[in-house]
Amino acid sequence: MPINPEWLFCNAQKNKHMKQNLTKILLVLTLFSATLAKAQQNEPDTLRSTVAQIASDLDLLKRIKITGYIQAQFQYADSAGQASFAGGNFASGVDKRFMIRRGRLKAQYDGAVSAKGWSLSQYVLQFDVTERGMTIKDAYAKLTDPWCGWVSLTAGMQNRPFGFEIPFSSSLRESPERGRMSQIIFPNERDLGAMVSLQGPKTGHWNWIKLDGGMFNGTGAPGAGANTADFDKYKDFIGHLAINRTAMHEKIKYGLGGSIYHGSFVSDTAFVYTPGQPKDSTGTPIDGFVKSPDKNKKGVEEKRKYFGGDVQFSIDWIIGITTLRGEYIQGDQPGTSKTTVSPAAIFPAGDGIYRRKFNGMYLYFVQNVLTTPLSLVVKYDLYDPNTDISGDAIGKTGSNTSANDLAYSTLGFGLIYRWDANLKIVLYYDWVTNEKSKNLKGYEKDLKDNVITARVQVKF
């Protein structure tokens, strides 16, 4: 059969097109494969760099910590309008109150970590916000040496490094308030100053021992609306040496500390009263304060000296963790006839300075009930603002003594229930007993100043 040239030509053309199309398809497939291979190779690279970026951003974010707590409470006092160290005085006519005792917000930034594993800097800002106003509690920077990690410098508004109860956080403390003595000699706990600390890094062999020493204004931190700029040239030294160890394979934890406060403030008061034997109306020497003969004692340096020791012990045993804590402080605390509280401002010129020797202590017993969220707490604290005089000698005519020379003891009982990591409920009873004197009107018997506190703490 003859071959049709036209058919041959069409077939050839068809084949040519087919070949061209096949070539195109092969080319596209090759390009696609190459692109796919490159994309697959790029995917891990992209993922790696994305993960690295996220890790870097997360590392920066982890350096910022925002924490805080709110303590809301209801209190019922024995009588209306009483003075109280269970969260401040009750207003006239008031024996029950709701209050926000503390509302803390703290921002902390941890600086870069050294090659040897410790943070070289830390910056802290903490506020207290309640219905009574807003104050600064902490505003400090802490720098740690990069070579051995032993030496830190902390400067700004910070906790005074004295004893155990002062720096111990109010959010962790089992009793609603610090002891009476702590509130009197260290009102508001904080002060402005600079402190050097010596403590080995956490991974080091000597981390269990810590030495703090710093110079402070001595006026303390501001209360709501108050200004506590220093009012004299004298700066106070505070030092604390502490050891903290564990034993028996982490069944026992114990700590010991010793503290010193060496400070002074200027006084422009008219007279100085020193412990001695003034004479009563009959000329008989009695215990009390002897008034200085000279008037206008302007610019006198009044010394504040405290020495203290603290001890803590915790044991994890069959009935749960038992904790015992104690602290004793004694020293010289100049005050006036109206107050023994450490001054935040110069004393009024019209009054006199009373040079008192004081001592005080507290004891805590805390029992966690097995491993339940329940804890029982018993606390006893004692404060004697004037150890040179006691009982009926206080208030005698001619003694120059007052109610501010009376000793107080407080026995506290409490129940703590930890709902979860954020919520804690505290029920606490303060049984306050004052020293009595038949020569001091209103203090012939024990004052009705016991307080029940029901508190809810939310912490984040």
């Binding site: 040897k116 594993g117 962790l172 956490k202 991974t203 080091g204 062999h205 564990t246 394979h249 982490e250 069944k251 026992i252 934890k253 915790s314 994890d316 963790i321 966690n368 491993t371 339940t372 969220p373 804890s375 930890r418 709902w419 979860d420 990591a421 919520l423 804690k424």
Partner: protein, 275 residues
């Protein structure tokens, strides 16, 4: 038709309840990681719908996660510290403890290192930096490169307490974030020495026999020696969990404690809790 509807509803209900079976998070010890991962895999195969995620990071990381509630189970190669107990108490956590297995801690060196036995005193000297050259302990004239775990590691703590007698690690010691990193580094560095759980010992490293009687007897880290207590560096591996998470986590904990779970313990290279 009615039966079909009932069956459909029942099937949906079953699938929902199966789907709703709890998801458990386990965090903590790198030493425990291979074991708990294997236990979790086998548990999930046997219990469809169960979901267990296992994350390492170190015993300290796991315990912290237990404190802040971001894990149900913490796995740890050390017991709780007193500070941790107090923090957990403060967080209202009622913590329970169970031992999942035991682990022998093996001292490893590079396979090219001719030293194959060391006394505890020599180990202390090496890891505290007092002994700096292998020739001082019978090896070649070669600098000793010390590898250690980081401070959040229970293995770090245990080695420090048991071998270094609480002395400080050498400041030149290289701190590694994970056990696998120590194995890799020791395998690649001729003068290196490190410590890892027995389950992590591979063919690319050599484990060293240890003497706790000043060189009278040297014992290798093996299952048998750990079981008969002739190998001295053995520690329990723990699960810590809160009472709140117990209901969810207990089935898995019980599985690990069962005969099947303990068979897996042995298989992975740890020491079972049985007699």
């Amino acid at each position: 038709m009615k039966m079909k509807s009932i069956s459909l509803v029942a099937a949906m209900f079953l699938s929902v309840t199966t789907f709703a079976q709890s998801k458990i998070t386990v965090k903590g010890s790198d030493t425990c990681l291979p074991l708990v991962q294997k236990e979790a895999e086998d548990y999930m195969k046997a219990n469809k719908g169960a979901s267990i995620s296992v994350i390492g990071g170190g015993s300290g990381v796991g315990i912290s996660a237990l404190q802040d509630g971001t894990t149900d189970l913490a796995m740890s190669s050390r017991a709780l510290k007193m500070d941790e107990k107090l923090k957990l108490q403060e967080a209202g956590k009622n913590v329970k403890t169970t031992i999942m297995a035991y682990d022998a801690l093996s001292v490893i060196v590079n396979p090219g290192n001719k030293v194959d036995q060391l006394t505890r005193e020599q180990l202390e000297g090496i890891f505290t930096g007092k002994i700096k050259n292998w020739k001082d302990v019978g090896g070649d004239d070669m600098q000793i490169i010390v590898y250690s775990r980081e401070t959040s590691s229970g293995t770090y703590e245990f080695f420090k307490e048991k071998v270094l007698m609480n002395k400080n690690y050498a400041s030149s010691a290289l701190m590694m974030p994970a056990t696998g990193a120590i194995v890799q580094s020791v395998s690649q560095t001729k003068g290196a020495i490190g410590y890892v759980g027995l389950a992590y010992v591979e063919k690319n490293v050599k484990d060293v026999k240890v003497s706790y009687d000043k060189g009278k007897t040297f014992t290798p880290a093996t299952y048998e020696n750990a079981k008969n207590k002739s190998y001295p560096i053995v520690r329990p591996l723990y699960f810590f969990y809160t009472a709140q998470a117990e209901k969810m986590a207990k089935p898995f904990i019980d599985y690990v404690a069962s005969a099947e779970g303990q068979r897996i313990v042995k298989e992975v290279g740890y020491i079972d809790t049985g007699k």
